[in-house]
Symmetry: C2
Subunit: 217 residues, 2 copies
Amino acid sequence: MHKITEIGMEHDVLHENHKLAHENYHMLEHHNIVSIDFMGSIGSGKTAMIIKLAEILRGKGKKVAAIAGDVTGEDDFKRMKESGITAINCNTGHECHLDAHMIRNTLKKIDLDGTDVLFIENVGNLVCPADFPLGTEKRVVVISVTEGDDMVRKHPDIFHKADVAIVNKTDIAEYVDVDVNVILDDYKKLTGGNKKMIECSVKTGKGLDDVIKALGL
Amino acid sequence: MHKITEIGMEHDVLHENHKLAHENYHMLEHHNIVSIDFMGSIGSGKTAMIIKLAEILRGKGKKVAAIAGDVTGEDDFKRMKESGITAINCNTGHECHLDAHMIRNTLKKIDLDGTDVLFIENVGNLVCPADFPLGTEKRVVVISVTEGDDMVRKHPDIFHKADVAIVNKTDIAEYVDVDVNVILDDYKKLTGGNKKMIECSVKTGKGLDDVIKALGL
């Protein structure tokens, strides 16, 4: 997080966010919406995963909406929309993460009674989104093998805070000289051996069933 | 950047950073050190690039030092050290970017008279480091083809602010279905057609001569 020199300021920002996240949570719960916050770095495959999961869920008769969070632009939003998802774009302007206030405003644009599942794609960043829960039922962190085998060791906070952790693009691990087992072991150690990171390849379809199960969808 | 509700606070933080960056700049200039800030997302290959460039520069008789910036841990620092670079670790604790104050403190640990080139590896993030110049002579942004072809469109600010832009891992573009020309064209458009992004593969060595030249090393 950015250095905020006045004592108490950082705390106030986080406290305010938690309060609004709590309100979002109850609003989503009231409408029986299963909501998921997808966190993860740039290029980890969050958009492709949301598109693929939405496709599977539509096949089961579920109504899926998504919020595409980005600093600027409409790339992810357009990809989601073209795939058939009811999508809303949410540009943060300058912020490196979504926050509960942005989500509260964006929820006003969504037909909540006509939605079963809401996917929120956070800004590509493995640091700050961890501090700003949005009020979703679950928080997911998606990493890609292309980021190297040290992602868990370098960003323990987000892996601690996420309910579900996914390592994506395992199909190209050999081309980037990454041993997926190192990542899986780091996560296991970090979470005390109780939680297992899901191995996944959105491209080949590997692990998507496990993701659906872990998210309770 | 994080939402800072009190008016003027964001400005103060940035203003203070610019002042310290200015001091760092003059300190490095006084010691005849060529200094480079490597910005870029997680897994873009910043560490590998610094190690490779340092190897080439050592071959030319230059004394290279590096600062490894990370939220936590010593992974990049250790890789640099093992490769023979005089490296200093700089953990930000919770910040998603280095700032000029951190660098000023870290410079105290470096033998400036015994250094010709200083590489600073920023925290993996394509948003916030852009706002916090460190006082280096040049700022570089490194992206990887694995991040997708929309990186320039999604993060115009950092590409505007960097003196040199590099797209890395072009050797595996075909495995991640990315057309490098889309990235190159976006950068050309963004910078008014005057600047060219360097195509590079640290793994194969492609483009490293162009990087050395662009950085004036």
